[in-house]
């Protein structure tokens, strides 16, 4: 018997104030899929992710995540935000932040087992040396790795990632996508990632959702990132489509 979709979005519309940001979007995400959400600025990508997390209420339509309404099963979900809304002056070590991914609250004490798991997660993302660093001392790219470790530490079955490679250098970004591929293979996890990196979407995702307020295309990358849908979303294709068809530069 086929597994039920991990995410079901049916005729979703979302308003931000007076403005309709998402209009009549429907799609399903199958278990163990790697979906990249791409689109121009203001296309509603982050709003869609926030709706899946339960941070934003749909104005219309229905959303189910892990067979529940959004926001009901946070412990099975790992999330990396796009804009870090953290307080950079907050006194904390990296291990505190990673441990918060285990408890879904800020740890008053770090238990030895929690510390051990947090250190293992940091090792996974190549940030073991940052374990006792203060958060305020981290660069943007280092912080991104730490957030990813925090996201993975409780081994969630669904990852919702909002531009996880922001601030990470090219080599680091390639490592990050490889890490996601490996995590998905090892855990059978489902990944939904908002990205501006078409190459990453093209070469790592099983499906791409091209969004521009409404769903322009959804399906395998070769189809969803075709010249016509890209032209419809961005107004022009430029050299990007040719680059995608020719393979990523790092290949």
């Amino acid at each position: 018997m086929a597994r039920a979709p991990v995410i079901q979005v049916n005729r979703l519309s979302v308003n931000r104030g007076q403005r309709r940001v998402i209009e009549d979007v429907s799609f399903d995400v199958a278990a163990a899929a790697f979906v990249a959400i791409v689109g121009p600025n203001g296309a509603g990508k982050t709003t869609l992710l926030h709706t899946l997390l339960g941070l934003v209420e749909p104005s219309d339509g229905t959303v189910r995540v892990l067979d529940h309404p959004p926001g009901r099963d946070a412990k099975r979900i790992g999330y990396v935000p796009q804009v870090k809304t953290l307080d950079r002056t907050f006194p904390a070590e990296v291990l505190d932040l990673v441990c918060s991914g285990l408890t879904h609250a800020w740890p008053f004490w770090r238990t030895p087992s929690a510390t051990e798991r947090a250190e293992a997660a940091l090792e996974t993302v190549g940030a073991a040396d940052l374990a006792t660093a203060m958060l305020s001392d981290l660069s943007g790219g280092e912080l991104q790795r730490v957030y990813l470790a925090r996201c993975l530490v409780h081994e969630p079955e669904l990852l919702l990632l909002d531009e996880p490679a922001t601030g990470v250098d090219a080599t680091g970004a390639a490592d990050l996508y490889e890490l996601l591929d490996r995590y998905q293979a090892d855990h059978g996890a489902t990944i939904v990632m908002v990205t501006h990196d078409w190459n990453a979407a093209y070469h790592h995702a099983t499906d791409v959702l091209l969004l521009d307020g409404r769903c322009i295309s959804y399906g395998p990358p070769q189809k969803a990132l075709g010249a016509d849908p890209l032209r419809e979303a961005f107004g022009h294709v430029g050299h990007a489509h040719a680059m995608l068809q020719g393979g990523p530069p790092h290949d």
């Binding site: 997390l53 339960g54 941070l55 009901r72």
Partner: protein, 278 residues
């Protein structure tokens, strides 16, 4: 007041002598409790950049106290719902509109003070007790206040499981919400606790100075803390010791209690600040 000490030779009395006076015993219990409570909540106030909220709530408390004095009701019982109401209004305005919390506080605390002054102008009796609430007095603390503060300490201890959620939302509200933390509800609970603590502190510290009680110990702790846990605990330590030291200074130097405690806190803050630049 029968237990008021005579002023002569106070400076020469040993510390233990001060403890013979029931008013001093009450003030010390209240001071220690306030040191613990205000500093505990102050860690959140400072880290959330809500220092102005303490000012707003303390001035709102004054408005509530004035209403209680006018109605002839124990001011605490009127000031608590009044101050909590103002706190919730500040949270609602800043969450549901284009105005930021500092604007909401700026409006509401001025309105509360204006209301307090107008209410006091209707009062026929001598209004010296109202001014005690403005500047605080070691002599104003009664057994009722001791009971209230002890109950608040017990209540705060019972709410200790909320610390991880409050701390999480202090660090990153969006992340906390994404993890299922009911941030808005928790915020209202935190504001309620801070408002009640502020009202309870007004008699000893005074409405004008009580905001510093929330801010200075936590700011001192923040200078050297490597974690929010140590910041919270260190703030409580600073708040408690400076309250005791300030009350003895108040007793021996005949200073207003609120001012004496705040000056002690400022002294410790100055030392911590200097040490942080070494």
């Amino acid at each position: 007041m029968s237990d008021t000490p005579t002023l002569c030779c106070k400076e020469a009395r040993p510390m233990i002598d001060a403890l013979q006076y029931p008013f001093m015993q009450r003030a010390l219990v209240v001071g220690v409790c306030l040191g613990v409570l205000a500093s505990y909540y102050g860690a959140f106030v400072v880290q959330r950049r809500m220092s102005f909220l303490g000012v707003g709530l303390s001035h709102a408390a004054f408005g509530g106290i004035a209403l209680g004095l006018l109605l002839g009701i124990e001011p605490f019982w009127v000031a608590v719902p009044f101050t909590v109401g103002v706190g919730w209004a500040i949270a609602w305005i800043s969450d549901h509109g284009p105005l930021t919390s500092d604007t909401a506080i700026g409006i509401l605390f001025a309105v509360a003070i204006a209301l307090g002054v107008v209410l006091l102008s209707y009062r026929q009796q001598y209004t010296a007790d109202a001014f005690t609430y403005l500047f605080g007095s070691i002599l104003a603390v009664e057994a009722f206040d001791v009971g209230v503060l002890l109950a608040l300490v017990v209540g705060t201890a019972a709410l200790a499981p909320l610390w991880p959620r409050w701390a999480y939302a202090t660090f990153d509200r969006t992340l906390a919400r994404a993890d299922g933390v009911p941030v808005q509800r928790d915020d209202l609970m935190l504001i309620t606790c801070i408002a009640i603590t502020v009202v309870a502190a007004v008699k000893l510290v005074g409405a004008i100075l009580v905001a510093a009680f929330l801010v200075v110990p936590a700011a001192t702790a923040r200078l050297h803390a490597r974690s929010f846990r140590t910041m919270t605990l260190a703030a409580m330590g600073v708040g408690t010791t400076t309250a005791v030291a300030g009350l003895f200074a108040s007793f021996y130097l005949d200073w207003p209690s609120g001012a004496a405690i705040i000056l002690m806190q400022a002294l410790v803050f100055g030392c911590a600040l200097a040490a942080s630049y070494r």
